[in-house]
């Protein structure tokens, strides 16, 4: 079996997840858990598609989706940072609310054709054996996701601003004492994370699962949240988690024909079993129970 096409498909289909999970990573690193990911991605996917279809402009679609993600994140940030309410409760309610809102507002756009991100193979690089077909025969969004992974990792661990971001989430008091405007930073990164989640939504409806239908991206937001934990809030590991998920999905698709006795749904839940296992093992290393 030629594994290159499997991995190439896995990388391509994981791209929206990379955007969403790294967006959540920025937010969580700053100390705000944006639990609305499921709804944010769905509403942004709908908005992105509706705008791109109405205006004929992909850019307009992606911008609208990013703004949608930011607006939802703003509610989470305002509720949790300014009003000091439970960010979990707000995020969860928004996850449900935005998903339903996407169904209601997106009704006129169900199953109609719209613009999609065009293919863009990179000359020379696409001809490199194995790596070429694996990484460089995709579209602009996939390449942007590579830059995001590299950029986010470099930002987190190679810049002063990244250090401040981590301090904002982990040791806000220390960051404040050192002159950081913790609240402003939390707002900024939560909104930035929301924008990335919005782009993830548009990446679905304008590229990898082109079009819009009721509950178009069902489950992906929750999976993105799980992948962030899986990756331990490290952008590269988070992206790796997204790719593992993509590979599992590709394998599931293949297994459908080669192992007909096992329903594909079993593979669909594999990432969650894996996630729980990883979380338990990593906590074992920390030792002890949480409660006492």
């Amino acid at each position: 079996m030629d594994v290159v096409p499997i991995f190439a498909t896995a990388i391509a289909t994981s791209t929206p997840m990379v955007f969403a999970a790294i967006g959540e990573t920025f937010s969580e690193r700053a100390g705000v858990i944006n639990l609305s990911a499921e709804g944010t991605i769905m509403l942004s996917a709908m908005t992105g598609f509706a705008l791109a279809e109405s205006t004929g402009s992909l850019l307009c679609g992606f911008a609208g989706a990013a703004i949608t993600g930011m607006l939802v994140a703003l509610i989470v940030a305002f509720g949790s940072i300014t009003l000091q309410k439970s960010q979990i409760a707000i995020g969860f309610v928004l996850a449900l609310l935005c998903a339903d809102l996407s169904s209601v507002l997106g009704n006129p756009f169900v199953r109609i054709p719209g613009p999609t991100v065009p293919e863009m193979s990179i000359p020379v690089l696409r001809d490199i054996p194995i790596l070429g077909p694996l990484l460089f025969r995709s579209d602009a969004l996939v390449y942007a996701s590579y830059l995001l992974i590299l950029g986010a990792t470099a930002y987190f661990y190679g810049t002063r601003a990244g250090l401040l971001l981590r301090a904002t989430g982990e040791k806000p008091t220390s960051a404040y004492v050192r002159g950081a405007h913790v609240i402003r930073l939390r707002y900024a990164y939560t909104l930035f994370g929301g924008a990335l989640m919005g782009i993830a939504g548009a990446a679905f409806s304008l590229d990898f699962k082109a079009g819009w239908s009721h509950r178009h991206t069902a489950g992906y937001g929750w999976i993105a949240l799980a992948i962030v934990i899986f990756g331990g809030l490290h952008p590269t590991k988070v992206a790796l988690g997204a790719y593992v998920f993509g590979v599992l999905q590709s394998v599931a698709t293949l297994a459908q024909s080669s192992i007909p006795d096992v329903p594909t749904q079993v593979f669909g839940v594999a990432p969650f079993a894996l996630m729980i296992g990883v979380l338990v093992i990593s906590s074992r290393r920390r030792g002890g129970t949480q409660m006492v």
Binding site: F78, L96, A226, P263, Q265, G268, F272, L279, M291
Partner: protein, 350 residues
């Protein structure tokens, strides 16, 4: 002269809820106008959808039962300071267990006994699933939010696996679910409607039992102590770990029963969407009620009416039935954001 009896602690939240209702209705009205529908026409469609016929009104009661059961279960975990998002999965495994138990015993037991065994199996499965989430949380140090969500997907995966695998209908596996149960195993209903009086009675009993247990017993006091401050409760001799596992089990028992009733009283088979998102909806109910059982009941009724009423929207006005979810979500969100509309759960998860 005695001072006037004023209850600011009650009046103020009531006003806040009223304000939340008004703001949410305005928001939903705006959504309706955006979709080109008159809010008044939408309100009429909701009413017709919920109470237009006896069958529809009965369906409101049918939806109320699982909602009330899940909400009752969630009161335990919320009171202990836990965001138990795994309630949806507990409902699904309850449905799976009930289907399996009914199928295994239908040839050897009388119908009433099969139904009883199925309901008990649902409760036990829900409790086990809940305890498993609790164990992951307490001993595995996995946030109960993510443990619960993970377990939800696993339960959903298990249901799909069974429907499309070992329990598939003869010759064909489809989203329609497993083979329908023999009619003798269908729980009795009000007349020819879909609503089961037994399910409703069980839900009411669960709500009363929960209210009494949480508010009036030493056990409830310990649960609330754990929810207020886990570490202090432990230091003062409350067995916190044990308490947390018990509340997960309690929630699982009620959610599992809700799942079993969805199979035995409503669908008469296991279907992929057996939960109908009622577990998640129950989370909204309990948050909106600020964990007060007296408010859980009317809010659950309102949410049932909205859920059933919304089914008429596509036919009457060409609108998505999810509009009820928009109203329910907006209501919960606005209430959460209003001053003093705290959700009450102790911690922030991870």
């Amino acid at each position: 002269m005695k001072p006037a009896l004023v209850k600011p602690a009650f009046v103020k939240p009531a006003l806040l809820r009223a304000a939340a209702l008004v703001v949410s209705l305005v928001f939903v009205g705006a959504v309706c106008l955006l979709m080109g529908a008159s809010p008044a026409a939408v309100a009429v469609a909701f009413w017709d959808g919920a109470f237009g016929t006896v069958d529809q009104a009965a369906r409101v009661l049918g939806t109320l039962s699982p909602l009330l059961l899940c909400a009752s279960g969630l009161l335990f975990t919320f009171r202990a300071g836990l965001y138990n998002l795994g309630v949806e999965g507990q409902l699904v495994v309850g449905a799976i267990a009930a289907t399996g138990a009914a199928s295994a015993t239908e040839s050897v037991l009388p119908a009433w006994a099969v139904i009883a065994v199925a309901l008990v199996a649902g409760m036990l499965a829900g409790a086990s699933w809940g305890v498993l989430t609790g164990v992951l949380h307490v001993f595995g140090r996995v946030s109960e939010i993510f443990a619960g969500l993970g377990m939800n997907f696993m339960a959903q995966g298990a249901a799909l696996y069974l429907i499309f695998g070992p329990w598939k209908r003869e010759g064909v596996a489809s989203m329609a679910g497993t083979e329908p149960m023999d009619r003798s195993l269908w729980m009795s209903t009000f007349g020819t409607t879909d609503a089961s009086p037994t399910a409703l009675l069980l839900a009411i009993a669960a709500a009363v039992f929960t209210a009494v247990l949480i508010q009036r017993t030493h056990f409830g006091l310990k649960v609330r102590a754990v929810g207020q401050n886990l570490r202090s409760a432990h230091v003062l001799g409350v067995p916190a770990v044990q308490q947390l596992l018990i509340v997960f089990a309690a929630c699982g028992v009620f959610s599992g029963l809700a799942g079993a009733l969805q199979v035995m009283a409503v669908f008469h088979r296991l279907i992929p969407n057996v939960s109908s998102n009622l577990g998640y909806l129950a989370l909204l109910v309990v948050m909106l009620a600020s964990f007060d059982m007296r408010l859980v009941v009317p809010i659950a009724v309102l949410f049932s009416v909205l859920n059933v009423g919304s089914l008429r929207l596509p036919l009457a006005l060409g609108l998505e039935s999810s509009l009820s979810g928009v109203l329910q979500g907006a209501l919960a969100l606005v209430f959460l954001l209003l001053p003093r509309g705290d959700s009450g759960a102790r911690r922030e998860g991870t």
